[in-house]
């Protein structure tokens, strides 16, 4: 007989069981927690034997009785598992979404970069990624991609056009051309976004970005010693000083714009120094204080960066100190500062906004998108792929031919088929954010995804413990998560 579909976890003061089928949390006594840990035993006497050093038989018997009663009255602790992952849309629906609901086009305007960041996925240290190349997008390719995108986003509420690289500002003249084209032909239909290393934000460039209301994401890893250890020019010089100077200039000249439109992407290259990074973004009087952040750990799959000593494995202590700080701040009831938000907000939102609908036989394949709809990535040659993070050779179309719905459907079906056996047995199935990026090397490879799953299960169980520990002390602490929608 299968085990109950549960996860046990603890906070400093309490014991919990997360029941997957009902999606609910149960606060349990220590003895129930321990008994549930032996739920593969088919006899309470056997459990009693195994726990005899810790509890007397009467206590264990009472725990077992309550478990059985609760199972009957609340329908929890069921061993039911979904039968399969199931993608509910038909080919026609996928085709329709591709033709009308595209949300974001990302143009890779160049594969060249003026920096040589040591951990970059394009540094040559990642087996399945490209390296820096002198490829540049032509205006003709960009124009075709934009035309197709606008045609295919008629029902999209906020269609967005992003510029990506390499370092996209190396292709500033192309960006100017594209923006001019969009403004002339599709005035106010698209918003503009750019991800940049921040070194080329001269006053002219900044003025252009401000005038066109760009949203800017700048890569900045923390204080100079941390940032400059990784984010360097080809000659090894750090890039911190020039970025900070550019930010300072922008903040001085366009304070409102800087406040609203600029965010930062932080790569945690040295997780053991996360507190230094935190303090850097929290400094009083700093132009960075209160800025929108995303925090990434370096991708540890398919890379020699750890073997070569460029990056070191963390023991996790500094991260746990940060989590402790997060808990304390949340209990205070004033929400979280942007850094702590960025650390754990997404799983906390998923936990907080979970619904109590019973698990079904057919389960939606968790984090996947309809490739090409939420994002579509166009490389310098006009090939479309899923997004900027996946192996760029996984093409789903071309600017001259459009996006192939059959191929998109095939991608989804392969994902579902490959993932299903693992996912239907995984307690994290209702929260999992895994998508194609985690499954694809140069083909679908479940071993890659399993590494992600291990990390994600830890992350989610941590988030559950944080969520519950905070609500033990302040039941309304997470109310600020009520209205946030995950994009």
């Amino acid at each position: 007989m299968s085990s109950p579909f549960i996860l046990r976890f603890r906070t400093p003061n309490k014991y919990y069981v997360y029941d997957v089928n009902t999606n609910c949390f149960l606060q349990v006594s220590e003895v129930v927690y321990d008994v549930m840990g032996h739920s593969r035993c088919n006899s309470w006497l056997k459990i009693a034997d195994e726990l005899s050093g810790k509890y007397d038989r009467k206590t264990i018997m009472r725990a077992v009785t309550e478990i059985n009663q609760f199972q009957r009255t609340e329908n929890v602790f069921s061993a039911f598992r979904p039968l399969r992952l199931f993608f509910p849309k038909t080919l026609e629906e996928v085709e329709n979404a591709l033709n009308t609901k595209m949300q974001q086009l990302i143009l890779c305007v160049t594969e060249q970069c003026n920096l040589r960041c040591r951990y970059c996925i394009f540094s040559g240290s990642y087996k399945y990624q490209r390296t820096h190349t002198p490829r540049w997008m032509s205006f003709d390719v960009a124009k075709k991609a934009v035309d197709l995108f606008v045609r295919c986003s008629s029902q999209s509420e906020f269609p967005a056009l992003g510029f990506y690289g390499g370092e996209p500002l190396l292709a500033f003249s192309l960006i100017e051309q594209v923006v001019e084209y969009v403004n002339a032909k599709y005035k106010n239909k698209l918003s503009f976004h750019i991800t940049t290393n921040g070194t080329l934000l001269t006053s002219d460039v900044t003025q252009f970005l401000v005038q066109n209301n760009f949203n800017i994401v700048i890569s900045l890893d923390g204080p100079a010693p941390i940032h400059d250890a990784m984010r360097v020019y080809p000659d090894g010089r750090g890039s911190f000083d020039i970025i900070m100077q550019n930010l300072h200039d922008m903040g001085q000249k366009y304070p409102e714009y800087f406040k609203k439109n600029v965010g930062f992407n932080v790569s945690l290259s040295v997780p053991d120094k996360i507190e230094d990074v935190y303090n850097f973004f929290l400094q009083k009087e700093s132009i960075l204080k209160g800025k929108r952040l995303t925090i990434n750990q370096i991708d540890y799959e398919d890379t020699d960066l750890f073997e070569n000593g460029v990056l070191k494995i963390s023991d996790g202590r500094a991260m746990m100190n940060m989590i402790k700080h997060l808990v304390e701040q949340a209990i205070d009831g004033h929400g979280l500062d942007p850094f702590l938000k960025a650390l754990l907000e997404n799983p906390l939102i998923r936990i907080h906004q979970r619904c109590s609908r019973q698990l079904q036989e057919n389960h939606y394949p968790n984090g996947i998108c309809v490739p090409g709809v939420r994002r579509i990535f166009c490389d310098t040659d006009g090939n479309f792929s899923l997004c900027e993070r996946i192996n760029p050779n996984l093409y789903i179309g071309h600017v001259d031919k459009g996006v192939c719905a059959d191929f998109v459907m095939q991608l989804i079906e392969n994902y579902v088929k490959t993932s299903s056996p693992d996912c239907i047995e995984c307690w994290a199935i209702r929260f999992c954010p895994a998508c194609y990026c985690q499954l694809y090397r140069d083909q679908y490879d479940i071993s890659k995804k399993r590494a992600f799953c291990m990390a994600e299960c830890q992350n989610l169980s941590l988030a559950m413990a944080v969520y519950c520990a905070v609500r033990e002390e302040n039941d309304h602490a997470w109310d600020f998560l009520d209205d946030i929608t995950l994009g």
Binding site: M1, M61, A63, A79, I295, D315, S356, E425, F431
Partner: protein, 93 residues
């Protein structure tokens, strides 16, 4: 969950000091309700065109990833145990 034979357990006095209680229930107006998400089993707050949040993947240290994920029940157990071992040294949890 297998039913255990506890016919000799008598009447456990559960009501005053329950060993199990449901806590932190779903908020009224879950995201699914608000967004009108039509996905048959989704609970992740997605709009169903995508639930992907690959922008932010806060992952645990790579060290914790060693070993294989043979079965997901083991996965859960391993996750919990290594979670605990990660947490204990900091003297909080």
């Amino acid at each position: 969950m297998p039913r255990y034979d506890v016919s000799d357990s008598g009447n456990a006095n559960n009501k005053e000091n329950p060993m199990i209680k449901k806590v932190f229930s779903e908020k009224s107006g879950s995201n699914e309700e608000k967004s009108g998400c039509s996905c048959p089993s989704c609970s992740c707050g997605c709009s169903c065109e995508c639930a992907c949040d690959c922008d932010i993947q806060m992952q645990q240290p790579a060290q914790a990833l060693s070993g294989s994920a043979s079965s997901s029940f083991n996965k859960a157990t391993e996750a919990t145990s290594s979670f605990a071992s990660n947490l204990k040294p900091v003297g909080y949890w």
